[in-house]
């Protein structure tokens, strides 16, 4: 079974991300594979281990995307493709999904394309559904468990995690699947995997290589800023007993008129 997993490179969650002179910076914090995408890679590898075949990791973005792909290779993906080109650092979700869908078609015979639920930089979270829409494949988003996936009968049954609970959804392969954290902890790259990844030659495709000419985004971010600093005066509540502290705290909270 041919499997694709789409990954992105983002600043580490522990990074102190700030805007300086109108530009986003995160100091010397490392860029890492988007944490959600690690779950997608894990899910893709588990499916490959069950059904055979191969997993190709795709990353769209600048040269730094190589590091996310190397992480995916080190975890166990067999192939990686970097899609890059002028202006793609400004790609919006529509451009991204159009290119990813075309790349998946170019790879050919892909039965499942896995995504993380969203990238933790832009927090847009629509790329998986949009890629499915471009491909006219079932869109199985926010998946917390894969109950069945059978390449022979081309069927898939998943549990989706939505606000009101868990929804069981069935569809036909090929399908797009985005996963949430409940799907299972991602593995750590093995020492051998890291060595293999560090030596891997990663092919580079341009949007034109996958047949996409229109890469001008429709959504732009004309302004990005640090959140307004709230003036917070912290009032420490003290007292002679927990009961006294608790009662004072309850009274003070009620005086804030938020209940």
């Amino acid at each position: 079974m041919k499997i694709v997993v789409c990954v992105k490179q983002v600043p580490d969650t522990a990074a102190k991300v700030v805007v300086e002179d109108g530009r986003v910076t995160w100091g010397d914090a490392p860029l890492v594979i988007n944490p959600w995408d690690e779950y997608a890679v894990e899910t893709a590898l588990l499916q490959q281990e069950t059904h055979g075949g191969d997993v190709t990791a795709i990353c769209l973005g600048g040269e730094e995307g190589r590091e996310a792909l190397k992480h995916a290779l080190a975890m166990g993906c067999g192939n990686a493709i970097l899609i890059t080109g002028p202006g793609l650092e400004k790609a919006d979700s529509l451009v991204t999904a159009r290119i990813l869908a075309s790349a998946i078609q170019k790879i050919g015979d892909v039965e499942a394309a896995f995504f993380g639920r969203q990238a933790i930089d832009g927090d847009v979270g629509v790329t998986a559904a949009q890629t499915a829409r471009f491909l006219r494949w079932p869109s199985l988003t926010l998946v917390s468990a894969i109950d069945e996936l059978d390449p022979a009968s081309k069927s898939i049954k998943v549990e989706r995690s939505v606000e009101e609970g868990r929804q069981v959804v069935e569809g036909k392969l090929p399908a797009v699947i985005s996963v949430v954290k409940d799907i299972g902890e991602p593995r750590y790259p093995s020492f051998m995997g890291i060595r293999k990844a560090s030596r891997a030659e990663i092919p580079v495709w341009s949007p034109t290589d996958v047949g996409v000419e229109a890469t001008e985004p429709v959504v732009t971010w004309p302004e990005i800023s640090n959140p307004p600093q709230k003036e917070i005066v912290t009032e420490m509540i003290t007292g002679d007993s927990p009961e006294e502290i608790a009662d004072t705290l309850a009274k003070k909270i009620l005086e804030e008129k938020v209940l």
């Binding site: 979700s93 829409r133 009101e164 004309p222 800023s225 804030e256 209940l259």
Partner: protein
């Protein structure tokens, strides 16, 4: 005639969700400058009631589609129908609440119409004819303004960022029936089951959240039952702590949250996680118990109106963002705090 500003009314099993009407308030901010009224889109198997409510909440026109193929939300048929209406009537803007349904529906309509989605928006204005949408990015560490050059501009509004309008029983909008356009055998997915979460308020909708962190298991005086190994003893302690957190949440009509550390340690399921890789929330009151306040957690709750921190460690970073702080053990403070609220709220 259809309006320039449309809203998607999110419903679950024939009932509008609590945040459903907030989009109408957001739409009114735009119609003040763009002119016209607000057109609502409602689809489901039995949703006439929701359409009538939409009128009471201020919709001037409601397109309602009642069809069994739309009974359980599936993005494909909803998107095809909404895209078809939008292609016919050319709205400037469509607003959705940021729910799993709203986000995926907007995503697919964007593909159908070659336009963009601006998700999780907290403020809106019109500049040079375009909507300028303010939205948190990097898990709330930064704020960006976004614009979309294509039409319609698709926007999902953050739940609780806009107050819902007051319903007016004398509302006088028009309800227009429309037909479903995709037959069942052309829909790519089937819903074959459902298990609802155990009751309680969900994090998204909650006006009050009481959260626990790693510190919830940190109480030396608690004696776990005999025979538990170290890990099970820790989980047992955490459960006692989260029970106290749950008790307080219940009295306040709120939801239970957790830090990533508490979720990763197995104290509570992932759907309680607040933070950059969990849910980003902005309740009126956020009470953090035994949470140190790592930057990832702060990103998920910093926009809460009033933050209260209870922590044994006086140096915990969470105190820097708290309106009220208590240096103490949550096992000592929470039971009397729950009692204090019980008696004060009853008074």
């Amino acid at each position: 005639m259809a309006d320039k500003v449309w809203v998607y009314i999110d419903q679950y099993q024939g009932e509008a969700i609590p945040a459903a009407w907030e989009v109408i308030s957001a739409a009114r901010l735009l119609t003040e400058q763009l002119g016209g009224g607000v057109t609502a889109f409602v689809a489901g198997s039995a949703v006439q009631q929701v359409a009538e409510e939409a009128v009471q909440y201020g919709a001037d026109l409601v397109y309602v589609c009642e069809n069994d193929t739309l009974g359980e939300f599936r993005a494909e048929p909803f998107a095809s129908l909404l895209s078809s209406l939008a292609k016919e009537h050319q709205p400037e803007v469509i607003l959705f609440p940021t729910t799993s349904r709203g986000r995926e529906l907007a995503a697919m309509v964007a593909v159908d119409m070659g336009t963009g989605v601006m998700p999780d928006v907290t403020a809106l204005e019109i500049k040079d004819g375009d909507v300028v949408a303010t939205r948190p990015v990097y898990g709330g560490k930064l704020i960006s303004k976004a614009v979309c050059s294509a039409r319609p501009q698709l926007i999902t509004t953050r739940v609780r960022a806009f107050s819902p309008p007051d319903p007016d029983p004398a509302g006088s909008g028009t309800i227009e029936q429309v037909s479903a356009i995709i037959p069942e055998d052309e829909i790519l997915t089937k819903i074959s089951g459902y298990s609802e979460s155990a009751g309680g308020v969900t994090l998204n909708d909650a006006a009050v959240i009481v959260s626990g962190g790693r510190g919830v298991s940190n109480n030396a005086s608690l004696e776990p039952p005999a025979g538990l190994d170290e890990h099970d003893a820790e989980i047992w302690k955490a459960q006692q702590g989260f029970k106290l957190i749950g008790d307080l949440a219940e009295v306040l009509g709120g939801a239970v949250g957790a830090s990533r550390a508490a979720v990763d340690a197995g104290y509570v399921p992932y759907n309680h996680q607040v933070g950059q890789t969990g849910k980003v929330v902005s309740p009126d009151l956020y009470i953090a118990c035994g949470i140190s306040g790592a930057i990832q957690h702060q990103a998920g709750m910093r926009t809460s109106k009033v933050i209260v921190a209870i922590n044994k460690d006086a140096e915990a970073p969470i105190f820097k963002m708290a309106r009220f702080g208590v240096v103490g053990d949550l096992f000592d403070i929470l039971p009397p705090l729950t009692e204090a609220f019980k008696s004060r709220l009853a008074a």
